[in-house]
């Protein structure tokens, strides 16, 4: 391919039909026009940034976002269905590596492993993910959705697009989880798509409770690709231990986070430099690079019956 590029015929592709002699001189008129275009475009960019920078008052760019989502949402879902062969391929490569390692030890089991390899199916994986989703949060009404777009690391955003929107009951500030644990929350929803802020983003903070001691703290993202999180306890004297598990402690009226969703496990604890307290590094249960089927908590939990405990009834039972 590279060699082809160097050949005269392929080079002609770069020549843009040789309009070079026509414009190479750069007469004052064209230079002026060129600069005008640049200045106009840069001014337009600054206008946009200033208009959109104040999010609190409702940005005037939001209608544009809605329109873009309504056009590109269906396109993205179509394009991401091209993902299926890719995913199969990726699974297949992973399986191959495993097979090679096993081969050295157990050559006889090779055929059986090949059979396993062929039955690894995308659809089956998805069904298994849905099953685990149902087991994780049985109390909530969930809307399943698929990830159709992932933000890139260049833009420092840890966000994904899912293919469920307001038409499916998804609104901003809803909890998103999958079979492993907490994924993030919905920051923006349009007709057919929604944008999810992952917990690994630097803009994300989740209230987390230590499973072992019920101590409260805050989990914030570090912006790393692996999704590593920082955890700080509210009580400065308490110290988390390595291996402690962290779950959400929930927000009022379940928005943006419902209680009891597993977040991750503490992998190391360091004392804060020059201050009280300690910061724990948390490895999330959800691998942010491999999320596919997620669930959005769209309904309240079935309210647990709370009957009053009366002294007479307990006495009656006791005697």
């Amino acid at each position: 391919m590279l060699k082809d590029l160097g050949s005269p015929t392929a080079r002609s592709a770069f020549r843009s039909a040789g309009e070079a002699p026509l414009r190479s001189a750069g007469s004052p008129g064209t230079v002026r026009r060129r600069r005008t275009v640049l200045v106009l475009v840069v001014l337009a960019c600054f206008t946009l940034i200033v208009l959109d920078a104040r999010r609190s008052a409702g940005s005037p760019v939001d209608p544009v976002r809605e329109a873009a989502a309504s056009v590109f949402g269906p396109l993205e879902s179509t394009a991401s269905s091209a993902k299926q062969p890719v995913d199969n391929l990726r699974d297949r490569f992973a399986e191959m590596d495993r097979l090679k390692a096993e081969n050295e030890k157990l050559k006889r089991e090779n055929e059986k492993l090949h059979q396993d390899l062929n039955t690894t199916d995308y659809a089956r994986n998805r069904a298994a993910e849905l099953d685990r989703l149902l087991k994780l949060a049985p109390a909530y009404a969930m809307t399943p959705a698929r990830v159709i777009g992932i933000g890139s690391a260049q833009s420092f955003n840890h966000t994904v697009t899912i293919d469920a929107g307001t038409a499916d009951g998804v609104r901003a500030d809803m909890t998103v989880l999958n079979g492993d644990g907490l994924v993030g929350r919905v920051v923006r929803a349009t007709q057919a798509t929604a944008t999810v802020l992952l917990i690994g983003d630097r803009n994300s903070t989740v209230g987390g409770r230590l499973n072992a001691s019920m101590a409260l703290g805050f989990v914030s993202g570090r912006g790393e690709v692996g999704g590593t999180l920082d955890y700080k306890l509210v009580d400065l004297k308490a110290r988390p231990r390595v291996g402690d598990k962290i779950v959400t402690w929930g927000s009022s009226s379940n928005a943006p986070y419902v209680p009891g969703v597993p977040i991750g496990v503490v992998t190391s604890v360091t004392a804060n430099q020059g201050a009280l307290g300690s910061t724990a590094t948390v490895k999330p249960y959800v691998d942010p690079t491999r999320i596919d089927t997620v669930g959005v908590v769209t309904g309240p939990p079935a309210r647990t019956p709370r009957t009053q405990l009366k002294p007479s009834t307990t006495e009656g039972k006791g005697s």
Partner: protein, 177 residues
């Protein structure tokens, strides 16, 4: 002819945005995906000059800013890609004595990736976006630039070939003896 050219450019940009957000993210290297939109903008700039680079860069960047899953201030990628496209167009003009060789194209892509990522991050810092992490900047830029050159080898020749086909007959007659 002009309408056809603009239509083609718009089509290229739309396809690039869709593919970059939903397909290429599955081939991410350490989270970094190929900047397909940047590559298309550079291809258009190399074939049509700085004005086209600036305008298509603005349009493509604006799409990247508003199409989900983007969640940053709109206008940041637009500014970054507009300037990268303009500079790419200038390079085309500087070397216009001869055809643009593959090495110049690769260098332009690396320069464009550096410029756009720097402008994007700098505007983020100015706006106090906590997600911008300058410690990670170098690594991500390195991976992105390498990945973009690979993508450019596949994308730039066909885009420039198509754009070269739709030159107005009048323009072509004056250029080709």
């Amino acid at each position: 002819m002009i309408a056809l050219r603009i239509g083609l450019a718009a089509l290229f940009l739309m396809v690039a945005v869709t593919v970059q957000t939903s397909v290429l993210s599955n081939f991410a290297v350490a989270g970094v995906t190929c900047d397909l939109v940047l590559i298309v903008v550079i291809a258009l700039a190399l074939s049509r000059g700085p004005e086209w680079g600036a305008i298509t860069g603005f349009t493509g960047g604006l799409l990247l800013d508003v199409v989900p899953p983007a969640d940053h201030t709109a206008g940041r990628w637009a500014l970054a890609l507009a300037i990268a496209g303009y500079v790419a167009g200038l390079i085309r003009r500087e070397t216009s004595a001869g055809p643009v060789g593959p090495l110049v194209v690769a260098a332009t892509v690396v320069l464009g990736a550096t410029l756009s990522l720097f402008i994007y991050s700098a505007t983020g810092s100015l706006l106090h976006d906590p997600s911008v992490d300058w410690g990670e900047f170098g690594v991500r830029l390195g991976i992105a630039a390498g990945y973009d050159v690979v993508g450019a080898i596949v994308v730039i020749p066909p885009v420039m070939w198509v754009m070269g086909r739709v030159v107005a007959a009048r323009e072509r007659r004056r250029v080709l003896p």
